[in-house]
Amino acid sequence: MSAPARSNYSVAIVGAGIIGLYTAYHLARAGTGPILVVDRGFLSSGASGRNGGGVRQQWETRATLRLARESVAAYRRFGREFGYNIWFRQSGYLFLAETDAELARLRPVHDLVRSEGLDSRVLDADGVRRLVDGIAPGAAVGGTYLGTDGTLYPFPALWGLYEAVRALDVEVALGVEVLGVTTADGRVTGLATSRGPVTASRVVNAAGGWSGDLSRAAGLDVPNHATRHEILATEPMKPFLDPMVVRPSDGLYFSQTMRGEIVGGLTLPHAPGTGGGMSSSAAFLPRMAASLSRLVPRLGSLGVLRAWSGYYDDTPDGFPIIGEDLRCPGFFHANGFGGHGFMLAPSATRRIARAVMGEATDLDPGLFGPGRFTGAARPAAVERLQLG
């Protein structure tokens, strides 16, 4: 635990995950004065250290797709920029369709991805079989595949960013809990922390699954809700699977990591909120095992090594919330990533930093802005591809 070294900062960022650290990095490079990143856990204790490492560009909306595409470019150069090898491996994302109707539902995504100049393919059952060695006969009629999507190893991305921001004089206070946001005349004045008050005229809420709680504690009515998702890793083995495989029907996703483990999860109904802890439920292991071994029967004889869980920070329309909350000037949202913070971090945080510095961004406020949930307006669009 390290108490903040000073009491007065230009920007205070809550959350030392991929979003918080990347935002700090962009801000520090732009030179915005003293920056504090505060997190109550240790580095990698939240969703940034608990995800499956998938990075894809197949999305339902052009806006998200373009952010993801820019992120892929950033992750390709991450190792040279930050000194840590994140093993970003562009070996594709495969969305499986169990029926022709499901394949038809994947079509619009495929068309959108192609219209952006990316080489999305529609595969038939044979094409799927070539990518997933040992898939059960009849398990998929086909799917869509984009070879430049990929997976990375999340931890070194955090180490690289952590060291980079510290080299830029950003202060990262770990093990310090934020108790609330302080305001005066409706404007942000700083944070109340377990190590005392901190003054900052701008606060960035990058607290992942706990973002909604923090915003609400600041008196802001936001629709973020945390959902617990579980994941497992198997014993490591020699490579047999290249792409990330996603089955929309039950939310199953899995890939084989650089170390050789199968890492994956599936969607289970959990009560919203962060009260469920970060352990595994009794239902997950059997359900995940059944789903996985029905799809790829040969995996049945492989051992599950460990299971864990983490929190998604979901929004009703599937878009993150980015920008200043005008109800409370100085309070910036960098949350609501719905389990896709890693996928979108490099590009989204560039915009967040710009917003914090008072500059205009190219993000459509109707899609990403914090104001989109107030009033009676219907959402401008919905991003439903919240998988893998």
Partner: protein
């Protein structure tokens, strides 16, 4: 007279006799201690180490199923047992060149970043080198599909060791009919109790908060049948195991834990060593001297040697080396000697031997307590975490009880804890006097030991985590880079992420990090004990899918 037909299994193209209840390793030990596989990164020869199905020293592929522990698997007719992760063979592995090529370790965190156009090639090569075995064959899983074994009882006891059996007998005497689980195949029956042998407990989730809900214990039996036991009361008697130790080339074949040495000797095979160096001087060392004294050539201890041990060793003519550091092993594919050094900058001595038997500390199997959400506390005596427990065995979780050495009892107190828990579970009362437990105050003996050890000049590979080939230097680099706490060190270095679930690296890493970070071990943290306790076949878990759903409470 017709001889009964013997079943045979195949290993490296030769057939071996199978015998009921005898494992693959049992059969192979007849020809000496086998080196069955290579380590993951540096392809160093590895041999059985723990003998109790926890380490990665005896992984083999059986009928296309990877990572089967030879010390647990009882072969049947026609089984094909193959070695993993060595090319072209386990005896001569070309990839062992990595051990020579990378004396300072392979740095996958910073290395292999340039030039950019090489990235796809790096990915292909590193991926191919990672992983223990080949993926499962298509046929391997079809053999494993079968219905789960499901049971319920008013009391479930996990572990049929001394205290678990005592508790079972006492419960039967009270008119109860407990289920008693144990990983071992050869568990003697308990009259009136339902004994499930060869059954591994993998996961004990917290009890659902709905009124009247019971615990659901998830596990499996070999080869891969799912197990579910539902019980409102669970007594955990999972016992303890002999710890590992850090020294130079501490992974060399012939380095064994006390569990391994005693288990191999008790299996009826010829002892796999003739002149071992025993490290440790307590009760456990005396058991080794009693049973294997003829095969022991020296006894080395980190501290003073208790008079009882001196007596036993002297009677057998075994030389004693108290207050000594175990510095390094020598040899190639087998231990040939160890170098020890008297503590306090003393002189070093070379002891010839063909094995090192580690009996310096015994650690609790506490994973189920963590999983079920019991409060834990640090006990310095062994340097480990135990459940906070009352004298009747009650943990902080209602309905969850802890007895025996997993609960921190010492010696005869294990039996006492078994008797008491039965009374408490059935609502009876016994006059309670405190049981002798592992000391919770002061510091662990190894803290001072390691403080000296890390300062001596190093020879050989110092393997902090054998499952993943993580080196001591990598742990030290992590601290130097500014990362603190065992949770972060785990994610940074890969320490504790292998098949033993951290059993053989974490306890020592905690002490080493405590020294490096300058704070007590209990502040360095503890790696979250994630389920399952042992790697559990996907097929076994899948079989429980429909069974579990109705009671799902989360």
């Amino acid at each position: 007279m017709v001889e009964p037909s013997r079943s045979r299994f195949w290993f490296e193209g030769r057939s071996h006799d199978a015998e009921p209840g005898r494992t693959v390793l049992d059969r192979l030990l007849r020809h000496g201690l086998p080196s069955l596989q290579r380590s993951p990164r540096y392809h160093r020869p590895r041999a059985p180490f723990c003998g109790i199905g926890q380490c990665t020293g005896c992984l083999v592929r059986v009928n296309g199923r990877p990572n089967v522990r030879a010390c647990r698997y009882v072969p049947g007719e026609g089984d094909r047992v193959e070695t993993e992760n060595a090319w072209p063979s386990r005896r001569f592995d070309l990839l062992a060149a990595f051990d020579v090529m990378f004396p300072n370790g392979i740095d996958t965190l910073h290395g292999f970043r340039r030039p950019a156009f090489m990235t796809p090639l790096y990915h292909r090569v590193i991926r191919r080198l990672a992983g223990y075995g080949q993926p499962p064959s298509r046929e391997s899983a079809t053999e494993l599909r079968g219905p789960p074994r499901v049971g319920s009882a008013d009391v479930l006891i996990v572990g049929a060791g001394r205290s678990g059996r005592v508790a079972a007998e006492a419960l039967v005497a009270e008119g109860r009919h407990p289920i008693l689980l144990d990983r071992r195949a050869d568990v003697a029956p308990v009259a009136g109790a339902d004994v499930w042998a060869s059954t591994t407990a993998s996961f004990l989730p917290p009890r659902p908060s709905t009124p009247g809900a019971a615990f659901d214990l998830i596990g499996y039996t070999e080869p891969a049948r799912g197990v579910l036991v539902r019980a409102p009361q669970v007594i955990v008697a999972t016992g303890s195991y002999d710890a590992s130790l850090l020294f130079g080339s501490n992974d060399r074949p012939g380095v064994l834990t006390g569990d391994g040495a005693l288990g191999f000797a008790r299996s009826g095979s010829p002892a796999p060593f003739h002149h071992a160096v025993v490290f440790g001087a307590g009760d456990r060392a005396r058991v080794v001297l009693d049973e294997l004294g003829d095969h022991v050539s020296a006894l080395v201890a980190p501290g003073e040697i208790p008079p009882e041990t001196v007596r036993v060793a002297s009677a057998a003519g075994i030389p004693l080396y108290p207050r000594s550091l175990l510095c390094t092993t020598e040899g190639r594919s087998r231990v040939r000697a160890v170098e020890i050094r008297a503590r306090g900058n003393g002189s070093s001595t070379r002891l010839e031997c063909d094995a090192v038997v580690l009996v310096h500390r015994r650690l609790p199997n506490g994973q189920l307590f963590f999983q079920a959400g019991a409060r834990m506390n640090w006990r310095a005596g062994t340097g480990s975490y135990y459940p906070v427990v009352g004298d009747d065995g009650a943990t902080s979780v209602p309905g969850l009880w802890a007895i025996g050495s997993a609960s921190g009892t010492v010696g005869a107190a294990s039996v006492g804890s078994g008797e008491r828990v039965a009374a408490a579970v059935t609502g009876g009362s016994l006059p309670l006097s405190p049981l002798e437990r592992v000391r919770s105050d002061g510091s662990n003996e190894l803290e001072g030991y390691y403080r000296e050890l890390v300062r001596i000049p190093r020879r050989g590979r110092w393997i902090a985590c054998p499952c993943e080939d993580v080196l001591l230097e990598e742990i030290e680099q992590t601290t130097r880079a500014g990362y603190r706490g065992v949770e972060v060190v785990k994610r940074y270095s890969g320490l504790g992420t292998g098949l033993c679930q951290g059993r053989y690296c974490l306890p020592d890493a905690l002490l080493l990090l405590s020294i490096a970070e300058g704070r007590p071990p209990s502040e360095v943290g503890y790696i979250t004990q994630r389920p399952p306790v042992h790697p559990t076949p996907i097929a076994a878990l899948a079989a429980l899918d429909g069974v579990l759903t109705p009671a799902e409470g989360t």
